[in-house]
Assembly symmetry: C2
Homo-oligomer: 336 residues x 2
């Protein structure tokens, strides 16, 4: 089943069920007005959503309308919790070097995870409004899962049962803040502006064999201004999503609608390219002694999509966003 | 104006307006069913809430009912964002020593702030369900502000205009996770289970001269099992709330309902005591070479209230909570 959220002037948008080829969709309002509402009472609404999915996929497609991703908000335009792991160790190791922070103890046995802002997500074609190019604007392509209510203390194995949807994410990042915030001990805050999502959230069954062992077995392809930037594969994720969920739920329950991210998709094979600029720059430093790829400037565009093994576009649709200067000028970074 | 949220079986509870002496309250449903709803359209609902405040404070108090804090949820049982600063530098310095992490650069000019879980707050008398005493259970008494929608790039001075309510918080903490999470660079996650709130959220005018320069000029008194633990004063807050808000809004806007915490209230005068156990332990280490105050065990109780200069209880009411073992056993801390 494929779900999306259309703009309707309301903060949480309007839930639709999307057909297999993503050309049509059907209003889900009779079953659940918003995706957050659906997630909070999933077992009650799932049969109705499945019925709508059958309708929109039938030849007659009664009540369907064209599906236009430019009308899409993030599948969840806002939610109660967004937790982002760093489960691709190749990315983690390169970022340690980029940020010049010491290696983390138990790096391979305990996931890294920060809590991000869940109050204001961006849709797949929303402009990315940022205050200042000097903040070192970067993107981060990753996969994520959306949970129903998950109990405290859940095991890694049981945790996968709470995965309701899988999503594709661009975790926009500002690298100028990263090293200081990493060293502060309090984690990333100014380094993480609003996060963006591909238009379609899919149930795990929709991925078929590409959902395996709690990992998304698809390539994540990034393009910068139409040029290939990378296509690393999701199978190299060290911690699977069940482990990330169990880590997050160690000392608290997770409300329905919680999103857990994989962290930047990254492969040890440098020919796979990167899903963020900071990582490519560190690869350049290692290979050539200095970075030569610049961070993003206003007017640049990042496109992210998942790809099947045959190169066909994956089920999430694409993020394709322009970086734009916010109206306020680039100010002093100190609060005084 | 004083606001509270009563349990009604729904996740966001039911908003009430509380009278000055906190003996009565009146249903706010005709104006706004929940506090989150009220914050999202504050200018439209404020006159109606003020009218209810006048009614509940009038001698006749038509439509009022007794106010019982045991029926209270957190004023916001959940919200879209919870950001906690560390604005009392005395606390920050002691915690650096406790966690054995190096001093943070620009400690006195750039606030420290982590993003916490906003999806599941505790009410003032809710039991604190935690998995394991070995996690080193601690409390943290602090003040907080609740915002209406705040634009990206707001200045510290202008930021105070977005403060709608002031709250009293117990930011429950698990110290066993703190040092590793601080060193990881990703910030506190397992170290921060559900946060708890005193029953009454107040508008800034309600504090009179105790709301001054963006700081709460009241003592915060903590008791452990009925015994005094500390009563440090809020005026020693180094960064004021406007500075904390501006820091949070540097690269993103903040949705209505965002809560910003002061961090643990702490004074340089050791006679003021502490608002958390970790800090008292560090004071003991400095004075006597070793800590002798233990972390909390199941069955212990923490009470936190604000006090006026004359020792009278402040406007927020008290948090008074019991620490209880969650049903799941204390497990392996690793996710495998």
């Amino acid at each position: 089943m494929k779900l999306a959220t259309l703009r309707n002037g309301q903060r949480d948008g309007r839930l639709v069920v999307v057909c297999d080829d993503a050309r049509r969709c059907i209003d889900a309002c009779p079953v659940a007005p918003t995706l957050l509402d659906a997630l909070e009472r999933w077992s009650a609404v799932e049969p109705g959503l499945q019925e709508l999915s059958r309708t929109v996929n039938a030849p007659a497609a009664l009540g369907a309308m064209p599906f236009d991703t430019h009308q899409c908000m993030a599948p969840l335009p806002r939610t109660w919790q967004w937790l982002d792991g760093s489960a691709f160790l190749n990315h983690g190791r390169l970022m340690e070097r980029a940020f010049k922070v010491p290696p983390v103890a138990d790096f391979e046995t305990i996931p890294l995870m920060y809590q991000g802002a869940a109050d204001d997500f961006l849709g797949p074609h929303d402009s990315v409004l940022l205050p200042c190019e000097a903040d070192q604007i970067d993107f981060e392509g990753e996969f994520g899962v959306v949970l129903s209510e998950t109990p405290m203390g859940v095991t890694a194995e049981a945790a996968l049962e709470y995965v309701r949807l899988i999503v594709l994410i661009n975790d926009w990042s500002l690298r100028a803040f990263g090293p200081r915030e990493a060293k502060s001990g309090f984690g990333f805050l100014q380094a993480k502006p609003s996060t963006a999502f591909a238009p379609i959230a899919v149930t795990p069954d929709e991925l078929g064999p590409a959902w395996q062992g709690g990992r998304v077995h698809l390539r994540l392809q990034s393009q910068r201004n139409g040029e290939w930037f990378g296509h690393p594969h999701g199978r190299e994720m060290h911690f699977h999503f069940g482990q990330l969920i169990a880590h997050a739920a160690r000392t608290r329950k997770l409300s329905a609608g919680t999103i857990i991210g994989s962290g930047t998709v990254s492969n040890t094979d440098v020919n796979a390219g990167s899903s963020c600029i900071a990582e490519r720059r560190m690869v350049e430093v290692i290979a050539e002694g200095a970075p030569y790829t610049g961070f993003l400037q206003f007017g640049e565009r990042i496109r992210i999509a998942a790809l099947y093994a045959d190169g066909m576009s994956g089920p999430f649709g694409a993020l394709d966003q322009l970086v734009v200067m916010a109206s306020r000028a680039c100010g002093d970074k100190n609060p005084q």
